[in-house]
C-alpha cells in the first residue's frame, strides 16, 4: 500500500514526458468559472483525503455524500417547476396542468410589483403587472391561486424575499380557509434578503429591519408552522448575476451563517431553527465543477454548524438544497439547444445530490415558457429519474480523483473568501462596501470578454452559428388587458371589504413594527382582514425606511 504513491509518481512522470510530445488543442483548459484544470488526476491529487473525516457515509457527518442514508433509492428529488404568470386564475390553471403531468411540488413566481411590495394599481406597477410572474395583491388572490389545490397535500415553494412575511401570512391564511392547520403546511419561502442586496436587487427595507423580519419568521414558524422551510438561502441569483462557482458557494454559505448568527442573537436556540434552513443553488454548464460545488457545500456547512455554532441536533448540520439549471447559460440563438444544456445541468444537480430541481424551459431566454416547453423541461427530469439509472447509486462520483480534488479545491477557495469577509467586518459590512457586488461584476465582465474574444465557445452564439437564423418557436404573450382586470378586481375589493377593520389591523401592525414584538401575528391579522400587500408594506416602509444602493459598475 505504502509504495503505491511512489509508484504512481514515477509512472506519472514517465507518462507526462511521453505525453508532452503530443500537441494539445489550442484551447483554454479551465472550468467555466476560470479555475485551471489539469489534464489528468491521480491518487496523488487526493493523497490527504481521509475517507471517514472528509466523506463519511450518506446521511452521516459531514454529509459530503448526501444528506439522507438512502438518497434517491428512498425518494426521488422533488420535481418542482417554477411557474406563475398573469393572474391568480391563469396560474392556478398552469399549476393544475403541471400536477396532472406528474410534477410533485409547486413553485410560485410572482410579478415584479408583488416582489417589490406594490399593489397592481400603484403608478410604479404600470406595465409590470403579471409579466414575470403572478400578481398577488391580497388574500383574495391567494385563495384563487390555490383554488382546488389542497395545501395539506402539496408542498409549495414561493420565490419571495423582501415581502416574504406578508406573502407567507397570506399562504397560512389560505390554509385556514381550506381548513388546513398551519402545522400541516409544507413548503419554502425564499426569504433571503442578503442575496437581494448582493445580486438579485429586489429589496425594500434596509438590512437591519429586514433581518428582524426574518428572525421573526424563524421564531413564529418554529412554534406554529414547524414543517415549513423558513428560508432558502440562495446562490442561484448570485450565479445568474455573473459570479463564479466559488463565489456562489462562498457568498451563499456566508449569508447562511449570517442568518444563523442573527437567529442566535435574537435569542433563539440554534437547533430550534437551523433544521428548517434550506439552500438554493444554480446548476451551471461545467459538469464536474457543479458536482464538486454541491459536495463541498454540504461538508462546509456541516462542519461549521457543528464546530462553530455548536448545533447538537444532526438535522441542523444538513445542507438540503433545491437546484435550478442556469438561466444565464441559455441562448436566444438556436433555442432548442437549451434543452440539451438543461439536461446536462440537471444531471449534475442529481449527481450532486439535490433535494429538488427545476429544469429551465428552452424558451425562457425569450419570454415566459409555453406549456410545451415546460413539459419538455419536466420530461427531462423524468427521463433522468426513471430511464438513465443515475438515481440507483448514491453519490456515484465519490472517489473520482478529479471530483474529490475539485471538491477540496472548492472548499479551500471558499475558506479564503470567508477570511476576507471576516476581515472586512462580516456580510453586512461587505454589502455596504460593495465588496460582493464588485467581485461579481468583475467575474461577469471577464466572462463576457472571454466570449467576445472566443476564448470561450458558446454554441450557436460565437461559433457554429446559423447565419440568417429565423426563430420558429412559439412565444407566450401576456395580454395587457390582464393589468386592467387585476386593477379592477383590487379596487372592487377595497370598496367591499370592512375598511374599519383594515385600518385597525394596520395600526396595530405599525405599533408592533415600532416595538420589538414578533410582527407575524399582526401581519396575519392584516391579511385576514384583506388588507393588501401594498398597504401592509407601506406601513412597514414608513417605520423601517427604504434601502438605497450606491450604483456602481
Amino acid at each position: 500500500m505504502n509504495d503505491q504513491p511512489k509508484g504512481i509518481k514515477e509512472g506519472l512522470e514517465k507518462w507526462r514526458e511521453n505525453r508532452c510530445q503530443m500537441k494539445d488543442r489550442d484551447f483554454r483548459f479551465e472550468t467555466v468559472s476560470g479555475m485551471e484544470v489539469k489534464d489528468l488526476y491521480t491518487p496523488l491529487d487526493i493523497e490527504d483525503l481521509d475517507y471517514a473525516r472528509d466523506l463519511g457515509f450518506p446521511g452521516e457527518y459531514p454529509f459530503t455524500r448526501g444528506v439522507y442514508r438512502n438518497m434517491y433509492r428512498g425518494r426521488l428529488w422533488t420535481m418542482r417547476q417554477f411557474a406563475g404568470f398573469a393572474t391568480a386564475k391563469e396560474s392556478n390553471k398552469r399549476y393544475k396542468y403541471l400536477l396532472e403531468k406528474g410534477q410533485t411540488g409547486l413553485s410560485v413566481a410572482f410579478d415584479m410589483p408583488t416582489i417589490m411590495g406594490y399593489d397592481s394599481d400603484h403608478p410604479r406597477s404600470l406595465g409590470e403587472v403579471g409579466r414575470v410572474g403572478v400578481a398577488i395583491d391580497s388574500l383574495q388572490d391567494m385563495e384563487t391561486l390555490f383554488d382546488g389545490i389542497p395545501l395539506d397535500k402539496v408542498s409549495t415553494s414561493m420565490t419571495i424575499n423582501a415581502p416574504a412575511a406578508v406573502i407567507w401570512c397570506m399562504y397560512i391564511a389560505t390554509g385556514e380557509k381550506q381548513g388546513v392547520r398551519p402545522e400541516k403546511l409544507t413548503g419554502t419561502i425564499q426569504n433571503d434578503i442578503l442575496k437581494e442586496y448582493i445580486a438579485q436587487k429586489s429589496w425594500i427595507f434596509p438590512p437591519e429591519p429586514s433581518m428582524r423580519l426574518i428572525t421573526d419568521i424563524f421564531a413564529y414558524a418554529s412554534r406554529h408552522v414547524p414543517k415549513w422551510n423558513t428560508i432558502s438561502i440562495s446562490g442561484y441569483h448570485i450565479r445568474e448575476a455573473g459570479s463564479t462557482a466559488v463565489q456562489e458557494l462562498a457568498f451563499t454559505l456566508a449569508n447562511g451563517f449570517a442568518y444563523v448568527e442573527a437567529g442566535i442573537k435574537a435569542g433563539l436556540n440554534v437547533d430550534d431553527f437551523a433544521p428548517r434552513l434550506s439552500f438554493f443553488f444554480n446548476a451551471h454548464i461545467d459538469f464536474f465543477e457543479e458536482i464538486a460545488k454541491y459536495r463541498a457545500a454540504r461538508r462546509i456547512w456541516a462542519r461549521r454548524m457543528k464546530e462553530k455554532y455548536g448545533a447538537k441536533d444532526p438535522r441542523s448540520w444538513l445542507l438540503r438544497f433545491h437546484t435550478q439549471t442556469a438561466g444565464c447559460s441559455l441562448t436566444a440563438q438556436q433555442p432548442e439547444n437549451n434543452i440539451v444544456r438543461t439536461a446536462y445541468e440537471a444531471l449534475a444537480a442529481v449527481l450532486g445530490g439535490t433535494q429538488s430541481l427545476h429544469t429551465n424551459s428552452m424558451d425562457e431566454v425569450l419570454a415566459l415558457p409555453t406549456e410545451k416547453a415546460v413539459q419538455i423541461a419536466l420530461r427531462t427530469q423524468q427521463i433522468l429519474a426513471y430511464e438513465t439509472g443515475v438515481a440507483n447509486v448514491i453519490d456515484p462520483l465519490a472517489g473520482s480523483y478529479y471530483v474529490e480534488a475539485l471538491t477540496n479545491k472548492m472548499e479551500e477557495e471558499v475558506e479564503k473568501y470567508f477570511e476576507e469577509i471576516e476581515k472586512r467586518g462580516g456580510v453586512l459590512a461587505c454589502i455596504e462596501q460593495n465588496f460582493f457586488q464588485q467581485e461579481i461584476a468583475d467575474a461577469a465582465y471577464r466572462y463576457q470578454r472571454a466570449l467576445d474574444s472566443k476564448q470561450r465557445i458558446l454554441v450557436g452564439v460565437n461559433e457554429f452559428v446559423n447565419p440568417d437564423e429565423k426563430l420558429e418557436i412559439e412565444i407566450l404573450k401576456i395580454d395587457p388587458k390582464i393589468e386592467q382586470e387585476q386593477v379592477a378586481r383590487l379596487q372592487k375589493l377595497r370598496r367591499e371589504r370592512d375598511n374599519i377593520r383594515v385600518r385597525e389591523t394596520l395600526e396595530a401592525l405599525r405599533r408592533a413594527c415600532e416595538g420589538t414584538e414578533n410582527v407575524i401575528p399582526y401581519i396575519l391579522d392584516c391579511v385576514r382582514a384583506y388588507a393588501t400587500e401594498g398597504e401592509i408594506i407601506q406601513v412597514m416602509r414608513e417605520v423601517f425606511g427604504e434601502y438605497k444602493e450606491k450604483p456602481t459598475f
Binding site: 431566454v365 461577469a444 465582465y445 459598475f553
Partner: protein, 132 residues
C-alpha cells in the same frame, strides 16, 4: 481633441437584473465613452431628468421584466416633451422579435440589442450613430 461620447445606462422599472447593464456600462467606458449608470428601479421621469442634466448623447435602457412596451415609449416621449429628442434611445434585454419590430417602427427606439450581441458591436454602433 474631440469630446467623449456621453452615455446614460439606465434600468427602468422594478426588475433588479443589472448584470447586462453593468457589463455594458463597463464595456462602453473601456471603449472610451463617458458612462453614467443610474442604478436600479428608476422611473422614466428620473431617467429623462438625469439624461438632460448630464447632457448625454445616448440613453441605453436595459429591461428584462417584460415591461418594455410601456417603459421604452414613455422615456422617448418624455425626452420629446422636454425638447431632448436629439438624445438617441437604445435598449436591450429579453425582448421578443415582434416587440422589437413594433418599438423600432414606432420610432420609440433607435436600436435594440438582444442577448448574445458582442460588447464591441454595441460600442461600434454608438460610435457610428452619434454625431459629435
Amino acid at each position: 481633441m474631440a469630446r467623449k461620447i456621453r452615455v446614460l445606462v439606465a434600468k427602468p422599472g422594478l426588475d433588479g437584473h443589472d448584470r447586462g447593464a453593468r457589463v455594458i456600462a463597463r464595456a462602453l467606458r473601456d471603449a472610451g465613452m463617458e458612462v453614467i449608470y443610474t442604478g436600479l428601479h428608476q422611473t422614466p421621469e428620473q431617467i429623462v431628468e438625469a439624461a438632460i442634466q448630464e447632457d448625454v448623447d445616448v440613453v441605453g435602457l436595459s429591461i428584462l421584466s417584460g415591461a418594455h412596451m410601456t417603459l421604452i415609449p414613455r422615456v422617448t416621449q418624455l425626452l420629446r416633451e422636454n425638447g431632448a429628442d436629439d438624445i438617441i434611445v437604445i435598449g436591450g434585454g429579453t425582448i421578443p422579435e415582434d416587440d422589437i419590430r413594433a418599438l423600432k417602427e414606432g420610432g420609440w427606439v433607435k436600436e435594440l440589442f438582444t442577448p448574445g450581441t458582442p460588447l464591441e458591436a454595441i460600442a461600434e454602433w454608438i460610435q457610428t450613430n452619434v454625431k459629435l
